[in-house]
Each structure stands twice: as C-alpha cells, then as structure tokens.
C-alpha cells in the first residue's frame, strides 16, 4: 500500500476551517464590547479584568433595555465560549488523572512489547502501561505526548500487531494529535449552534485516524497486522465500554478502517453536507446581523457617550507602585 498523505493534509485543512469558524463568536462579542471603554491600555491585569467585566455588564444593561434579542445572542455567544472553556479545562484535568493511572514502561516485564518496541524507530518512544484488562491504546499529553497501552492489549496482540499499533500511536504523538483534538473539541463545543461545526470535527477525527494508519503501514509495510490488531481490539470491547462517554467520535467505523487497510475501499463517509454548510452560513449571518446592526445607528452613538463616561470614571487600581 502506498502512503496517502492526503489524509494528513485533510486533517490540517479541517482544523483551519474550524478555526476560522471560531472567529464568529469572538468577532460577535468583540463588536458588542467594542464601544465599552476597554481599548485603553490596562495598568494591571486586574484592572483589565475589572474594566472588561464592568464594560460587559454596562453594555448588557444598555442592550437589554434597547434590544433584548441582541443581548440574548451576545450572552449565548459568550456562554458558548465559557462552556467550551470549562469543558476544556476539565478535560485537561482528567487527562492528567488518566496519565497518573499508568506506569512508565520498563523493559523486561512484557516480552511481546519488548520485541515489538525493538524497532529502531520506536526505541526512543515515551511509553506507559496501564493496568487494565481492556484492549486499549492511546496517545495522551498535550505538550509532550506519551503512548499508553493496556495490559489487555499487550496480552491479546502478537508482536507484529503490537508494532503496528505502536507506529499508529507514534503518528498521533508525532503530530501532537491530542493537542489538535483539544482545539477541535473546544471549537465544536463553542460553535454548537452551527450544524457544520460538529461534522467538521468528526471529519477531522476520521482524517487523523486514517493518517495514523497510513503512517503505521508506511513504517511497517504490514497493513494486515494493523488490520488484525483493530479487529482484535474491537472484539475485546474497548470502545463501547470505555469510550461510551466520548462525545467526539468520527464516522469511520472499524470495518471501514480494516477494509481500507486491506485495500478493499472502506472510505470515511463525510457528514459535512452542503445543507449543513448552508444552514450554518445562514445562522452565522443572522447572528452577525442581529448583533452588529443595532450598533450601527443611534445606539452606537449612545454607546459612544457611555464609553466617554466610563473613560472619565476613576479606574480601580490594585497595583503597587514601583520605586
């Protein structure tokens, strides 16, 4: 099988598109807050936060009186960003917990793993072992990705299959896929109101998996062994039991991936349809108009006057003067 770098490029493109869509809530909030006196250079970080909060509250009050709908939308955009941020922080904390559950791999304890890892390209791999009977293998860690394999998967797979799995995970580590997944999940959460966002995120997950499969096949030249590893892991019941809570799963099934590895087709079915793009475009445009229009006329002048008034207000300072 020849390597197919287009999966990797597709993942990059999807990440780019999602990042551009992420500008929608940021731009919307920016427009609302633009006349609120925060453009003055802050003396301290605390002052900046206080000024932003005060400005946000003043604007919310002002808008609520004049345009309840616009205010609602601004709150929705801000709430979405806050929700996505909270979920991301919780994910980072849980990721650290997950890492502490595993132990650093030490040669000698798992002979199959020792032999599989003996390949020159895998010798420097940051590897951890998880005490779990489930057949699991994943890459975790945002800045320094590490590969975690469970005792369950080591027991089930042959050396060649395990080597394929290690190369697959090495690809995730090399491309910092956990970090990219974090960004994609954040954007999918923040843009929940756009139908296309979640579809793009799912397509991204598929592209990442296809790309990691291609990397492993290119390195091992043994697509059949990786396909066999996938079937064994699936039969072991890994995803249903452990990943039941994973909200961001791709459209690519194990069957698709195995067939793809065996050269029998098995292409990912993209869920990003024209209809979803059209609906998302309509929603994005409607939000923009509803947020931006009230600021373009009389209300903008009113906000400008409020901004002037706020500028004249003494800033609360928490800084200690430097000698």
């Amino acid at each position: 099988m020849t390597p197919r770098p287009e999966a990797s490029r597709r993942a990059g493109r999807l990440l780019g598109v999602l990042s551009l869509l992420g500008l929608i809530p940021v731009a919307g909030l920016g427009i609302v807050l633009s006349g609120a006196g925060t453009n003055e250079f802050p003396h301290t970080l605390v002052n900046a936060c206080l000024a932003t909060m005060r400005a946000a509250w003043q604007v919310t009050e002002q808008h609520l009186a004049m345009h309840p709908l616009t205010t609602g939308i601004a709150l929705l955009l801000g709430g979405s960003l806050a929700w996505a941020t909270l979920r991301t922080l919780a994910s980072v904390a849980n990721t650290r917990k997950l890492l502490t559950e595993s132990e650093t791999y030490t040669p000698g304890r798992y002979p199959t793993l020792d032999t599989a890892r003996a390949h020159r390209a895998l010798s420097g791999l940051a590897l951890r072992v998880l005490t779990s009977s489930r057949p699991l293998a994943f890459t975790v860690g945002l800045w320094r990705p590490q590969i975690v394999v469970s005792e369950g998967i080591i027991a089930r797979l042959s050396e060649a299959e395990l080597r394929g799995v290690l190369f697959h995970e090495r690809s995730h580590a090399h491309r910092r896929d956990p970090l990219r997944l974090l960004v994609v999940r954040f954007l999918a959460d923040a843009l929940w109101f756009l139908p296309v966002a979640r579809s793009l995120a799912r397509d991204f997950v598929d592209a990442v998996e296809e790309s990691a499969d291609d990397w492993a096949v290119e390195a091992t030249r043994q697509p059949v062994e990786l396909a066999s590893a996938l079937v064994k892991a699936a039969k072991g019941g890994a995803p249903q039991a452990v990943l039941a809570g994973t909200s961001l799963a791709g459209n690519l099934s194990v069957e698709d991936r195995v067939e793809r590895l065996l050269g029998l087709g098995g292409k990912a079915r993209s869920g990003t349809t024209r209809g979803k793009w059209a609906a998302s475009g309509f929603i994005g445009l409607a939000l923009f108009i509803l947020v931006a229009l009230p600021l373009s006329g009389q209300e903008a002048a009113s906000l400008k006057a409020m901004d002037e008034a706020m500028r004249r207000m003494p800033m609360m300072s928490c800084s200690v003067p430097l000698r």
Partner: protein, 149 residues
C-alpha cells in the same frame, strides 16, 4: 458467606496503588491477606504487629469493615472467623483501573486522548468475523507468495 461486589466508591486520586481505594491500615491488611491466603484476625494481627503497634480489636474492626465492603469473604469455622480475599491482587487492581477509566471517560470533560479505536458505533460481531476471515486469507496468500519467491 458474603459475596457482594467490592465497593469502589471511595477513590483518592492523589494516592498510589491500593491506597487509592483503601486507607493505610486497610491496605496493609489486604496486602497481608493476599500474601498469606485465608487468615483469622489473630493471624493478621500477628503479621501486622511486627510492622506497627496495633490493637487486636482495631484489626478485627477493620477486617469486618473490609468484609462489609465486599473485599473479603468471612467464613465462620468452629473457633474463629476466617477471612479470604474476594479477588486476587492483580484482578483487584485491574478492576480498580477499569472503574477509574470508565469514570474518567464519562465525566463532564473527557480526557483528551487519540485512541486506537475512536468510533463508538456498535459493530456487528458477524462483520468482525468476516473481517477476521479476510485477514486470515490475506495472511495465507502472503505466505504463499513469500514461499514462491
């Protein structure tokens, strides 16, 4: 005999190994019973006495509590209560790890990890059997080709 499922509700993420689930004395008692096999309170007390100063009644109370939580079986013989672990040390640690993993992945913010298998779609066992057969055929063909060359 008490055969209920071990209670894994108490979890201390900052601790290591058995102490994630057990208190200090509970962990020492479980280690002692796993190492020794079936034991009475007096047996365990004798083993622990060498490591720390501890009252017989304290050991009895804690072992009773471990039996209530489902970690020990209590069998009443003519003279005393004999305790045996409900699972091996390895099986217990695996069960704890699986429970922690399942808990982590069902929390509000799931850990960020690139999994070997991301899909949660329910697959058909028959379909997996078909793929397994295909893989075996492919392997057999590869062997033949290697033999020919």
């Amino acid at each position: 005999m008490d055969t209920k499922r071990p209670n894994l509700n108490i979890f201390r993420p900052s601790e290591k190994g058995l102490r994630k689930i057990f208190g200090d004395l509970e962990a020492d008692i479980m280690e002692a019973i796993w190492a020794r096999g079936p034991a009475t309170v007096a047996d365990v007390h004798k083993l622990l006495e060498g490591q720390r100063e501890i009252a017989y009644t304290t050991v009895k109370t804690v072992m009773g509590r471990l039996a209530e939580k489902g970690h020990l079986h209590r069998r009443i013989t003519d003279r005393a209560h004999v305790f045996t672990p409900t699972s091996s040390r390895e099986a217990f640690l695996r069960e704890v790890s699986d429970a922690i993993l399942a808990g982590l992945f069902s929390e509000f913010g799931q850990p960020i990890a690139a999994h070997l298998l991301e899909s949660i779609s329910q697959w058909d066992p028959a379909s997996l059997d078909r793929l397994e057969r295909l893989i075996e055929e492919r392997r057999a063909r590869q062997k033949l080709e290697e033999g020919d060359s």
